[in-house]
């Protein structure tokens, strides 16, 4: 070294590796622990819900619990009416909300002039930040009376009110993710299609939307998860009667509402049955994610 510097040369000598690089280790550990927080939470939640919920399954019988139509704790624990209410409100919300959301996303990404997109987009993002209890208010003040007026029924707190409120609630999720995935496409797709003489609309429906499919599916799945898990707004507008709804204009109680409304006073098997309701809810979410994975894998092969 000394001779080298005396001669004015620049030398870089390679030092032997440190036995243990503590900084490296520290950060690896930090990243690992962070990753574990989520995994451990999921396992813990799953474990406790099952631990608390199994006694009710045993008491009522799994099939009776899921397919039973009567909910009369502590005698009868049948949640089929709530499964139906949750599924119908979610499916209805998706049928109404998703087309509106996708068209909004196309509008923002492809059609709106910049200044207009700059007004609509923050409005949509604001929608995402509104607490669900405020959606509930909105439902009570606007949707419920509107349903009473339009259908001439005494109480507008119905499945339909739940569907409409949920449809609005899932908009921002589906819009934001769909718009992002349309914008993420390479502009050469659009240029290629237009250069062949295709119209802008044809290009949107036949090139851009199919190419952005996996992102849009993800947005829809997150929207469904939000709809099926929504509690507060649903309790406020859907009427909550624990009976099988005969039409969209009857009140209904969702799985989530069932848990939230009775948890405060339930004891024993009754309390356990609310955890069981949670298990059913979890099962739906898991099915949803599995479905999404399957769809996106299909696409990978296409």
């Amino acid at each position: 070294m000394e001779t080298a510097s005396k001669m004015g040369q620049v030398t870089t000598s390679l030092t032997p590796a440190k036995k243990i690089d503590w900084i490296e280790r520290l950060f690896h550990g930090l990243f690992f622990i962070s990753a574990m927080v989520g995994v451990i939470s999921v396992i813990t939640i799953g474990w406790f819900v099952f631990y608390e919920g199994l006694p009710a399954f045993k008491e009522a019988g799994l099939l009776n619990f899921i397919f039973g139509r009567e909910w009369l704790p502590p005698a009868l624990y049948g949640i089929s009416s709530m499964i139906v209410a949750s599924l119908i409100s979610t499916v209805g919300a998706v049928l109404i909300g998703v087309p509106i959301a996708i068209m909004t996303a196309v509008f923002l990404a492809e059609i709106a002039p910049k200044w207009m997109a700059n007004i609509v987009r923050p409005a949509v993002e604001l929608l995402a930040g509104i607490p669900s209890v405020v959606y509930g208010f909105f439902g009570l003040i606007v949707i419920v009376p509107a349903i009473e007026a339009v259908f001439d029924i005494p109480a507008g707190n119905t499945l339909l009110a739940g569907i409409i409120v949920l449809a609005i609630m899932i908009l921002p999720t589906v819009i934001t993710i769909s718009e992002t995935s349309i914008r993420a496409l390479t502009p050469t797709y659009k240029a290629g299609a237009l250069a062949l003489g295709a119209s802008h609309i044809y290009t949107i429906f036949n090139v851009l939307l199919p190419a952005a499919k996996s992102g849009i599916y993800t947005g829809i799945a997150l929207g469904i998860a939000r709809a099926i898990g929504e509690t507060m707004a649903i309790i406020m507008v859907m009427g909550n009667a624990p009976a099988m709804p005969g039409s969209l204009l009857e009140p209904a109680r969702s799985l989530t509402a069932n848990i939230a409304m009775e948890m405060a006073y339930a004891t024993g098997i009754h309390a356990s049955s609310l955890y069981s309701t949670g298990i059913v809810l979890l099962a739906f979410i898991i099915l949803l994610n599995a479905g999404l994975l399957y769809l996106n894998r299909q696409r990978g092969h296409a």
Binding site: A191, G192, A195, L196, G197, Y202, T203, A302
Partner: protein, 249 residues
Amino acid sequence: MNKLEVNNLNLFYGENHALKDISLPIPAKQVTALIGPSGCGKSTLLRTLNRMNDLVEGVKIEGDVMFEGENIYADIDVKQLRMRVGMVFQKPNPFPMSIYDNVAFGLKAQGEKDKELISEVVEESLRSAALWDEVKERLHTPAMGLSGGQQQRLCIARAIAMKPEVILMDEPTSALDPIATHKIEELMDELRKKFTIVIVTHSMNQAKRISDKTAFFWMGELVEHADTDTLFQHPVDSRTQGYVSGEFG
């Protein structure tokens, strides 16, 4: 007979005067090469010929471009123009769908429903693009699975399927290796018999190999245009001379 005629064309991107008073005749069934250093305006000019510049915000165009005697900047149906003046891009850009659907895309976009006719056109176009033998066994597999050179020939087939009169090519081989480039150049030698071709290229050797006419651009100006041999051997302007002799650019 000139297929296209650019007359006193000025193009502005906002304040930037990108094309300055360009006048250029483009003869039918010949290959016209546009050459010049990056940013000289050659790609911009190419994109005025099928009005792809319409997609760029803040573009202003003065002057006119005559196609078969009609001004394409008058009130015309741009979709029809683009069917008759096809385009192949710098980077191969097949759509994320099957090989077959890529070639059939333009016809379907025009509302063509006759499946037999579509199949015929797909085969014919893939043959014209010298791709048929390589893909006939896997027409319904994703186009993204093809090599870069094959993808570019697919894009040519896709353009040919519209039975255009002119094909614009924007540095079609710049993303390809020499072998794939050679195949495309061979293909162009076939295509010139049926189509009027305008090609933007960075490679002066490519321009020499494939073009009949060459136009040299410099900072938004058309410096000179002539028969390719003349332009390369006896350039009139000193800037052309400097460029084609490799002194700069």
